[in-house]
């Protein structure tokens, strides 16, 4: 029981991170119908930027709590802005010139951008992984029963709480942004029919750019969370996290924001439980198999709209 609960908590935490990345995939796929292959690497860039600021500002666990939180929020904002700039640049250089062209071309440039980003960070930041001392220590220990060892002990760390709370807050804010603002409306219009949207005076290029910017911003939040949770990053974390987040987006139904979040949670849970109960070595096989199974048997995902074949 305690083992199960512990895995559940860990799974939800991991799932939140995947969900945040998945939103970037789902939004971009929704609006221009392409897999932004470089998105996983944008997440990695976000994690690096956050790491650099944390080290530069000398943020450590020894700071007073209020100051620590304030500093982390500052790091979050700056790294969101800078990561968003990276997302914007990738779109501007690698995707925009190919808009309306041949569908395979942006896929190839996306793979190229992904390779370039990975190697850029490898060169500029070094290939060795970067360990970070834990910033937030402690947490709740949920116990039941006496000290004789018959009860269970489950750890819920402050970091996990932080990750889950931030994710939920961002999700709510984001859903409001898409559903209530004119930017969200423009975005949904572009999803439906880009040509018509531009005839109605929507700046399609700008809307698409903003989509990339928002996706990259969320990915950088995920990057910071990943850094706080695991305490170590390297230039290669983007690939696997990217594929899993894409799986999450597909599982939830690509193009659907709640779907991305739900898919993220499910993938996080499945991965944690699989490692917890079966084998750690094959946890990636589990994620990839789910991706294949979902796409084959349920290509519209859990919350997506089914695609009707027009004859």
């Amino acid at each position: 029981m305690e083992y199960f609960l512990q895995q559940l908590i860990n799974g939800v935490t991991l799932g939140s991170i995947y969900g945040l990345i998945a939103i970037g995939y789902t939004m971009v796929y929704g609006i221009i119908g392409m897999i932004n292959f470089a998105h996983g690497d944008i997440f990695m860039v976000g994690a690096f930027i956050a790491l650099i600021f944390i080290v530069t500002l000398g943020i450590t666990a020894s700071l007073p709590v209020a100051l620590l939180i304030l500093a982390l929020i500052g790091v979050l904002i700056v790294s969101m802005a800078l990561t968003a700039a990276w997302g914007w640049t990738v779109e501007r250089i690698a995707y925009r010139p190919l808009r309306g062209s041949f569908r395979l071309a942006p896929l190839i440039t996306a793979i190229g951008a992904s390779i370039a980003l990975q190697n850029f960070v490898q060169i500029s930041q070094g290939a060795r992984n970067k360990p970070l001392q834990p910033l937030i220590s402690g947490g709740f220990t949920l116990t039941d029963g006496g000290a004789d060892g018959s009860g269970f002990i489950v750890q819920l760390s402050y970091t996990q709480i932080l990750i889950i709370v931030v994710t939920v807050a961002l999700m709510i804010g984001f859903t409001l942004l898409i559903n209530k603002t004119s930017l969200g409306r423009a975005q949904r219009a572009c999803e439906q029919d880009r040509k018509m949207a531009s005839l109605l005076g929507i700046n399609v290029d700008r809307t698409i750019s903003l989509t990339f910017v928002m996706g990259a911003g969320l990915a950088s939040v995920a990057g910071l969370m990943f850094l706080l949770y695991y305490g170590v990053i390297d230039f290669y974390i983007g690939f696997l996290a990217g594929v899993k987040a894409f799986t999450a987006a597909v599982l939830g139904g690509i193009g659907s924001l709640p779907g991305a979040m739900l898919g993220g949670l499910l993938i996080g849970l499945i991965e944690t439980f699989w490692s917890g109960y079966f084998s750690v070595e094959y946890k990636d096989v589990a994620a990839f198999s789910i991706l294949a199974i979902v796409l084959i048997f349920m290509p519209e995902g859990l919350l997506g709209k089914p695609e009707v074949e027009k004859v």
Binding site: G33, V55, R103, L107, N119, I123, R128, P131, L295
Partner: protein, 444 residues
């Protein structure tokens, strides 16, 4: 006129300055501040500042953008246009395809002798190795071209079949002591078999979904190879894979070896030359079969499938079988190439079969121009040859490679050779090439 040119210059500078500013924002952190585990901090991270490098990077962006603005993007007569008119136009090459192919062929056949006479046995070895590498990629590109270029099925996990071929040979040789010449067809058959197994469930998927599932399958195979320690040796791989013999004659020194049998002086280059001709022959067979199939009903059905699947079904074509044959054939050639790779290296491990390999092969096919056989050759020479050319830059190679993929694609989205030749004509003459704008790219 002068007013215009003033504005033009100022605009260019402004634009370049904007680019420089953005570059500053991007590079200041990632280049300028390197997080390093510093000595003396007890294993903690410290920051090493490198503002000089940032300045260089920003200057490159500013200067590059300014030059591009002045001479290409905003200029009345872009330099590229002038330069392009000096260089022979690639499009005008397309009808010359029938000359290009024989020229490449003759060059490929005499290459070892050219190299030997120019650099001697010792000096030509590295160039021959490079030629073998390029030819391997040409063969892989031709194999994948069946799937992506003709049938229009986007396969991002092609390296899986390369791996299946390599491991089939290595394991068959290790467990049963089979020779290369027995294993080669077996490896191809096994890879084709896996192509069908993996292909069957995914073929009703459309668009990028197919790409992602094939990517997932490729990764699954790699992770299994990595973790199934007892059978595949896991990350240690398999070593001591037997080298190929010249139809039973080993490339060894002394009695009964290749050099002895043919009365030559022993040289290790003989084996390399043999390997080169082996892969060249395998690649040419791939090309021959593909070109032949294109003119057969199955090849035409592949292309029709790429154009419009629903219309294919309305004409009585079994689309599932048609797609599976494309998948299986592509996989088979991948498997052949894989067993060649294993015998050449003598050692294989899952390291060699990462997603990047799939991406490189796909890039060769797409950059060459989907469906174009000669395009694959040119792209493989440019990408792989160019890649090796940058060996001196070591760590920058992959960065340059990724950037090249982006730049070439933006420059020529349809690939270098982008006309399609009809598979049959009423007049019996070689038909006029069909512009790629009319050709569909498939939905899978």
């Amino acid at each position: 006129m002068s007013v215009k040119s003033d504005n033009f210059f100022m605009d260019s500078v402004k634009d370049a300055a904007a680019g420089g500013l953005i570059a500053l924002a991007l590079f200041a952190v990632l280049i300028g501040m390197k997080a390093e585990v510093a000595s003396g901090l007890g294993g903690q991270l410290g920051i090493v500042y490198r503002w000089g490098a940032v300045a260089v990077a920003v200057a490159i962006v500013f200067g590059g953008r300014l030059l591009l603005n002045l001479f290409v993007w905003k200029a009345d007569t872009p330099v590229t246009q002038t330069a392009g008119s000096l260089l022979p136009n690639l499009q005008s090459f397309a009808p010359l395809g029938k000359y290009a192919m024989p020229i490449f062929l003759v060059l490929a056949v005499v290459l070892p002798f050219l190299l030997m006479s120019a650099y001697g046995a010792r000096g030509s070895r590295q160039y021959l190795d490079l030629a073998i590498l390029v030819t391997t990629y040409v063969m892989l590109g031709w194999g994948l071209n069946i799937v992506v270029g003709l049938a229009g099925l986007l396969d991002l996990g092609y390296v899986a079949f390369y791996a299946v071929g390599a491991y089939s040979y290595a394991l068959l040789a290790e467990y049963f002591g089979f020779s290369f010449w027995i294993c080669l067809p077996l490896a191809g058959i096994l890879a084709a078999f896996w192509g069908i197994i993996l292909g069957f469930p995914v073929l009703r998927l459309r668009g990028d979904y197919l790409a992602i599932v094939t990517l997932a399958f490729g990764e699954i195979i790699r992770v299994v190879l990595l973790n199934w320690y007892e059978f595949t040796g896991g990350p240690d791989g398999i070593s001591g894979i037997p080298r190929p013999s010249f139809f039973g004659i080993e490339f060894t020194r002394g009695e009964g070896g290749f050099a002895d049998t043919f009365g030559l002086e022993f040289s290790s280059i003989h084996r390399i030359i043999f390997l080169y001709y082996l892969i060249l022959l395998m690649a040419l067979i791939t090309n021959f079969v593909t070109m032949r199939l294109r003119k057969l009903p199955v090849g035409r059905a592949w292309e029709a499938l790429r154009e419009d699947e629903i219309a294919c079904r309305s004409l009585g074509i079994n689309t599932t079988n048609t797609k599976l044959t494309a998948f299986a054939l592509g996989a088979m050639f991948g498997g052949f190439a894989g067993s060649f790779f294993a015998t050449r290296q003598g050692f294989i491990s899952p390291e060699s079969f990462t997603f990047i390999e799939s991406a490189v092969i796909l890039a060769i096919v797409v950059l060459g121009g989907l469906g174009s056989q000669i395009g694959v050759v040119i792209a493989a020479i440019v990408m792989i040859g160019g890649f090796e050319f940058f060996r001196g830059l070591e760590e920058y190679r992959m960065l340059v490679f990724g950037l090249l993929m982006v730049i070439i694609m933006v420059w020529k989205p349809r690939g270098l050779i982008s006309t399609r030749n009809p598979s049959i004509t009423l007049s019996g003459k070689k038909g006029k090439g069909i512009s790629s704008d009319l050709v569909q790219e498939g939905h899978g």
